[in-house]
């Protein structure tokens, strides 16, 4: 801003684009852009949401892959990886959205520290820079506050700290001040100006939706529909269009068809003093809302007359939304009262809501319902008479210009039309009061003007009272009266003109800033003073390019951050630490192959010593529990149907006699409940065994011991698990399964989560390499998995009483190698997946199926065939199952298991290599 525009035009371009087009799916975000951006000055990219500003900036920063065209940044082609790697430490990029690239659970210092580490600064340099930056931005009083708990303005300042920590030559800021209060906004720009003064060569490229801000930039790029409308200094743009402000200039620059229908917004003055107009529509008296210690709204009072447009002006998080929720009865006020048309708002009284139309922040209608379905649903929920609904919907469609899009889904509509739909929905039941929470943020000026035209009509013609919140000054200007709000307090309420006049300010923004400064007192001035007082930091040397192929510091930056984040997320931490133990418990007891406590009963038609003896033989086995005898067939049928009996035995009359005579005609009938076939098979086996044993015993008793020719014995030795206990068999196989699934899932989530939340951008925009990123993220999960391993083994030995007969160290070493593979596999999976929910399911499938089916848990790998055998031979679980069983049950040590260690070790470099190969260092 200090540089003359002429200077800017002369300098060699910091970036130039030629024929750059970019598509996001079907939408064309940039359309053949050709542009030279002058260096060493402050460049603004202006235009509403969705015109391609963000795409342009992310391409310039090298975060996004160039699809077509050529982009040169800082003297090289940004599409070339070598050049990107070289200039990356010279570029800083701050993405759109409040605190988008910050980590909300990390503190202020931890956030900046993380970025400093990524740029390879040592401890001393880091702490020096961090304290200097926090001081300048006025964040030094809150070094330990989590980033998520900062106000919008503070978040953006912190974002700037993170961006500036490595002294970039090119600073790219995407809408850094949207949603931030005007004072913070001014401080933000002062800070940038200040830094530019120190680092004269630094170029700054900013996207903004605030035209007032753009007035102060050196050079502007006006964009619409993926195309450049015009470039030049603000003065040039105004002169070219013959307008006196950038807002009008921008509208004038729009192509003919977009301007069509745009008329200068006229809001007639309120028809004042006509008797009934003194009727108060909304009244708030001393409204206060506390959330714990935090006062979101502090003693707010105002009165709004019927038919008035009343504006609430303030930054994000100042209490606007909370006040609105109290007015609508969504929240009960802690103190004070709100009343509508003289009757107090009672959150329990649902009928109050029928007098209000509420349009919440952003677009919040059902995107899965069509325009008409949305209107219809709301009409019905507001209990409109069914015969009037269709007529009213037609009326709304017509009035709000939605007739052409009746059957479209909201997501397919442009933002401006969606906002009109929201308004139509809020108006469907013809309320007396409309409460609109930031209705036009992100809407282009033409659509915004037409939106306000509708509001004006509603207010003046239909005498609807409109309560609207905004953080745009030019919208506030349109209201009849406004309240300036900050930190839960109303600073002043009056007509916009009167407010400006009272402060003797040039415009509303200046007046607001003056009020803010009063409210915050000396505190707000401190950072500014310090900027002036502090001598410029150590003289700038040419940035040393600390670029090594692998930097431990960068890797550990990710390790440390991941650990901190995990510690602060209760659900993920629970899964990480307790998940595997819970699952082992469930599987250990649930997938139990011991079948015992089986119920049986006897229908004894013989009732002799022999038949009693037979029943006793069964009752005496440890598998069966005898129930009262069966009386007849009906009884048998009923009791088996209810599931009371698993086995019913019928002993025929004359059984004892037949046995005694040794005649082969006696028949015992056994009915088995076949509902659960596995159990039935086991029962079958037991009964046959018991029967055979009984016969042998009887034979021996009757005929004496005389072995005949041809008899032999089959001695079964159950090795490794002499009791043939299910747990002893299951547990050593379940440990590998759990140590595969959960660590893989957590590792996959850790990357995909960053993709979903947007902080992956830091990986794209900083010099951290792919391997550093992956290893850094992997380390905490390997450590966690080892803790899990320890817990599982302890649980197995102490709770399940499965003896560990072999070498624990061998098992632990194998576990370490194995969990490195498991987390590596998770990271590999994460490179293909975008959403967390997909990562959960995909990892579960990819790990569970091979681990359960092909890794020797049930069938040994040696008995598998075809694809299953191939998977079994390469999947690391196979080898860890062998080692786990070997050490747990077979008493083996390292020397016996070396054959399984080698393939296990081989998996590690393969998985990590593939993960690194497939991970992208740019957004596509």
């Amino acid at each position: 801003m200090t540089l003359a525009p002429q200077h800017a035009a002369l300098a060699a371009p910091v970036a130039s684009l030629q024929g750059v087009s970019h598509r996001h799916g079907k939408t064309l975000a940039l359309d053949g852009v050709r542009l030279d951006i002058p260096s060493g000055c402050m460049v603004g990219v202006i235009g509403p949401d969705g015109v391609g500003k963000s795409t342009l900036l992310s391409l310039l920063s090298g975060v996004q892959v160039v699809q077509s065209g050529r982009i040169r940044v800082l003297g090289g082609d940004i599409a070339e990886r070598g050049h990107r790697d070289m200039v990356c430490p010279r570029i800083a990029y701050m993405p759109q959205g409040l605190g988008k690239n910050l980590y909300p659970t990390l503190s202020v210092t931890e956030n900046v520290d993380f970025f400093a580490r990524l740029f390879g600064q040592d401890r001393e340099e880091r702490s020096e820079r961090i304290s200097a930056l926090l001081q300048r931005t006025g964040l030094s009083p809150f070094p330990d506050r989590p980033a998520g708990k900062l106000s919008g303005g503070m978040k953006q300042k912190l974002g700037l700290c993170c961006a500036l920590v490595h002294d970039p030559d090119l600073l790219i800021l995407d809408e850094p001040t949207t949603g931030v209060d005007p004072l913070s906004r001014r401080q933000f720009w002062e800070l940038i100006e200040d830094i530019r003064r120190e680092r004269a060569g630094m170029s700054v490229i900013v996207a903004t939706a605030y035209m007032e801000e753009a007035e102060r930039f050196d050079w502007l790029v006006a964009m619409d529909g993926g195309k450049i409308l015009a470039t030049g200094t603000p003065a040039e743009l105004r002169a070219r269009t013959g307008t006196d402000n950038l807002d009008s200039a921008f509208i004038a620059l729009l192509p003919e068809d977009k301007r069509k229908g745009h008329t200068d917004l006229e809001i007639p003055p309120p028809a004042d003093n006509q008797g009934t107009d003194d009727e108060v529509a909304i009244e708030a008296e001393h409204l206060t809302m506390r959330f714990g210690d935090f006062k979101a709204v502090d003693d707010v009072s105002f009165r709004i007359r019927r038919g008035e447009i009343f504006g609430f002006l303030g930054s994000n998080g100042c209490g606007k939304t909370t006040t609105m929720k109290m007015l609508t009865g969504l929240l009960a006020a802690t103190e004070g009262t709100a009343s509508l048309f003289g009757s107090p708002v009672d959150p329990k009284d649902i009928d109050v809501r029928r007098r209000i139309g509420y349009m919440s922040q952003a677009f919040s209608l059902y995107s899965e319902l069509t325009v008409r379905q949305n209107l219809d649903l709301h009409a019905r929920l507001f209990r409109m008479a069914p015969d009037r609904i269709d007529q009213r919907i037609e009326e709304m469609l017509h009035r709000f210009g939605l007739a052409d899009v009746v059957h479209s889904l909201p997501d397919a509509l442009p933002l401006g039309i969606r906002q009109r739909l929201s308004l139509a929905v809020a108006m469907i039941h013809a309320p007396d009061i409309l409460i609109l929470d930031e209705p036009t943020s992100g809407v282009d000026p033409v659509a915004r003007d037409s939106f306000w035209q509708i509001l004006a009509d509603l207010s003046r013609k239909d005498r609807v009272t409109i309560f609207v919140s905004t953080h745009f000054m030019n919208e506030a200007q349109l209201c009849d009266r406004i309240s300036l709000m900050h930190a839960g307090k109303v600073l002043v309420s009056d007509t916009p003109a009167a407010i400006v006049e009272r402060r003797g300010a040039d415009n509303l923004e200046a007046a607001f800033i003056a009020y803010l400064e009063d409210a915050m007192g000396a505190a707000s001035n401190r950072p500014a003073e310090q900027i002036a007082a502090d001598p410029a930091p150590a003289p700038q040397e040419a940035p040393v390019l600390r670029r090594s192929a692998f930097d431990l510091r960068r890797m550990f930056a990710y390790t440390q951050r991941e650990t901190l984040e995990l510690r602060r997320d209760p659900i993920r931490a629970t899964l990480a630490i307790l998940g595997s133990v819970i699952l082992m418990f469930v599987i250990g007891y649930g997938i139990n192959l011991d079948v015992d406590n089986l119920t049986f009963a006897v229908l004894d038609r013989d009732d002799t010593a022999f038949s009693h003896d037979y029943a006793l033989q069964i009752a005496g086995s440890r598998y069966f529990i005898e129930k009262p005898p069966i009386r007849d067939y009906q009884d048998l049928d009923r009791r088996m149907r209810s599931g009371e009996l698993s086995l019913a035995i019928e002993i025929p009359p004359g059984f004892g006699r037949d046995v005694e005579r040794g005649r082969g005609s006696a028949q015992i009938a056994a009915w088995i409940d076949g509902a659960m076939p596995t159990r039935a098979e086991t029962v079958q086996g037991y009964v046959q065994g018991i029967h055979a044993a009984w016969l042998q015993e009887k034979a021996r008793a009757l005929y004496g011991e005389s072995a005949s020719r041809g008899s032999f014995q089959l001695a079964i030795r159950y090795r490794y698990n002499p009791g043939v206990e299910s747990l002893v068999a299951m547990v050593p196989a379940v440990i590998p399964l759990l140590l595969m699934m959960i660590p893989a899932m957590l590792a996959a989530l850790s990357v995909v989560r960053e993709k979903e939340l947007g902080s992956i951008i830091n990986f794209y925009a900083t010099p951290v390499s792919r391997l550093e990123f992956l290893l850094g993220k992997q380390i905490p999960y390997v450590a966690l998995a080892m803790i899990n391993f320890g817990m599982l083994v302890a649980f197995a030995v102490m709770v399940f009483r499965v003896p560990l007969t072999g070498s624990f160290l061998t098992l632990a070493l194998a576990a370490l190698i194995y969990v490195i593979s498991a987390t590596g596999l998770g990271l590999l999976i994460s490179s293909f997946i975008r959403s967390q929910i997909a990562a959960i399911f995909a990892t579960a499938l990819i790990t569970l199926i091979p681990a359960v089916q092909y890794s020797g848990m049930i069938d040994p790998v040696s008995s598998l065939q075809g694809a299953g055998a191939v998977i079994g031979q390469i999947y690391p679980t196979s080898y860890f199952v062998t080692i786990s069983r070997g050490t747990f049950s077979k008493g083996l040590a390292f020397g016996d298991l070396i054959g399984s260690f080698i393939p296990l070790l081989c998996a590690v470099p393969v998985l990590l290599g593939l993960g690194t190969l497939f991970l992208k260092k740019q957004a596509s």
């Binding site: 076949g674 032999f712 008995s863």
Partner: protein
């Protein structure tokens, strides 16, 4: 509370579901292919079991035994030495090793009752147990056939006639199919309602709803009836078309009675879905929570392995889960043809658990909305 609002809110959910291809695919898959797969892919107990033989006899009878082990139950036996045997078992290559002693045939014919040793790797439970029985009967069969040339058959004095009721062939596919239907009912009702609530929260529409004259009870019931209905219809389709038609599994009892129970079960599980969604807050957390809740619910409810073999404490705890009662009831009705006179305790339990879950979830849901 107004029934019209509940109806409208439910219709809105149904319309939303219609436009969610992922959920629709999940529903269709869970009630068709997944059931087919569970029914046909129930693992046979013995499949290519790894066996080796140490043949120290090298006689006609020993080679007869060796050739009797054939796929698909067993792999073709490898001939190993005694030293190899230990090593191969240690490294998990073999599940069974049969050791036929020297002079086995001679001793057998001489009536000296020789002993064959069967080594079983008992860390492989499934194979060890059933496989052991198979090996035993194969060896006995071969030996007695071999001996048939030497002596006539003798009859055993008492016959045991075994009959399996309700599933004569002990076809595991029947069990697998019906069990999968039960699991799908639980899984989908929780996922659908939970996801519907989280989606509303993530899109900010829940706040919008609250500004309208509707109560939390109405919002919750709207989700409960609509998602419950979807799962109920899918269950009917799946039982009639997939289970009875495609897989030809005979169903013994009254479908109507089963459906009545399914309604109660759905009431309980949809409420549980709402509850979990209020705890989780975001879709990924919901996914993680599901893993920790759904698995115990399915595994420990008695649908996979018999309840009576679980430790008493787990059996008692699981009585609080609706699944346990639903599984008992479904097995009684669908397999054993039990009537209301038999299963009324389960109906009662489901109704009580469902009501408690509803009250509990509603309280949680109200708090969540603030």
């Amino acid at each position: 509370m107004r029934a019209a609002n509940v109806l409208q809110l439910g219709i809105k959910e149904l319309r939303g579901l219609l436009r969610d291809p992922v959920m629709l695919i999940l529903i269709v898959y869970s009630f068709t292919l997944s059931i087919y797969a569970a029914s046909t892919a129930m693992p046979e107990n013995l499949n290519h079991a790894a066996i080796a033989v140490v043949d120290e006899d090298q006689s006609p009878v020993s080679s007869r035994i060796i050739t009797a082990f054939t796929p698909p139950y067993f792999v073709v036996p490898k001939l190993v030495t005694q030293q190899e045997m230990d090593r191969r078992m240690d490294s998990g290559l073999e599940t069974f090793v049969l050791d036929i002693p020297p002079n086995f045939q001679r001793d057998l014919l001489a009536g000296r009752s020789p002993t064959i040793q069967l080594n079983v790797d008992a860390t492989r439970m499934t194979q060890a147990f059933t496989g052991g029985g198979y090996v035993q009967s194969i060896v006995s069969g071969e030996v007695s056939e071999f001996l048939d040339g030497y002596r006539g058959a003798s009859a055993s004095p008492v016959d045991l006639v075994l009959r399996a009721r309700f599933n004569q062939q002990l076809d595991k596919g029947w069990f697998g199919a019906v069990n999968e239907v039960i699991q799908s009912v639980t899984m989908l009702s929780i996922i659908l309602t939970g996801a519907a609530l989280i989606r509303e929260r993530e899109h900010g529409t829940i706040e919008h709803l609250l500004a309208m004259p509707v109560t939390p009870t109405e919002i919750m019931l709207g989700k409960v009836w609509s998602m419950g209905l979807v799962v109920l219809l899918a269950t009917i389709f799946s039982l009639v078309v997939v289970v009875q038609g495609w897989l030809a599994v005979p169903i013994q009892g009254s479908l109507l009675l089963f459906m009545a129970a399914a309604v109660l079960q759905l009431f309980a599980t949809t409420c549980m879905g709402i509850f979990l969604a209020t705890v989780a807050g975001s879709m990924p957390q919901f996914g993680l929570l599901m893993m920790l809740i759904l698995l115990p619910l399915e595994v420990l409810s008695g649908g996979m392995t018999p309840r009576e073999s679980m430790p008493q404490i787990i059996q008692d705890i699981m009585l609080a889960a609706p699944n346990t009662h639903f599984v008992i009831l479904a097995q009684s009705v669908l397999f054993r043809g039990a009537g209301l006179s038999v299963v009324w305790p389960q109906f009662l339990a489901l109704a009580v658990i469902g009501s408690l879950l509803f009250v509990f979830s509603l309280r949680r849901f109200r708090k969540f909305l603030r």
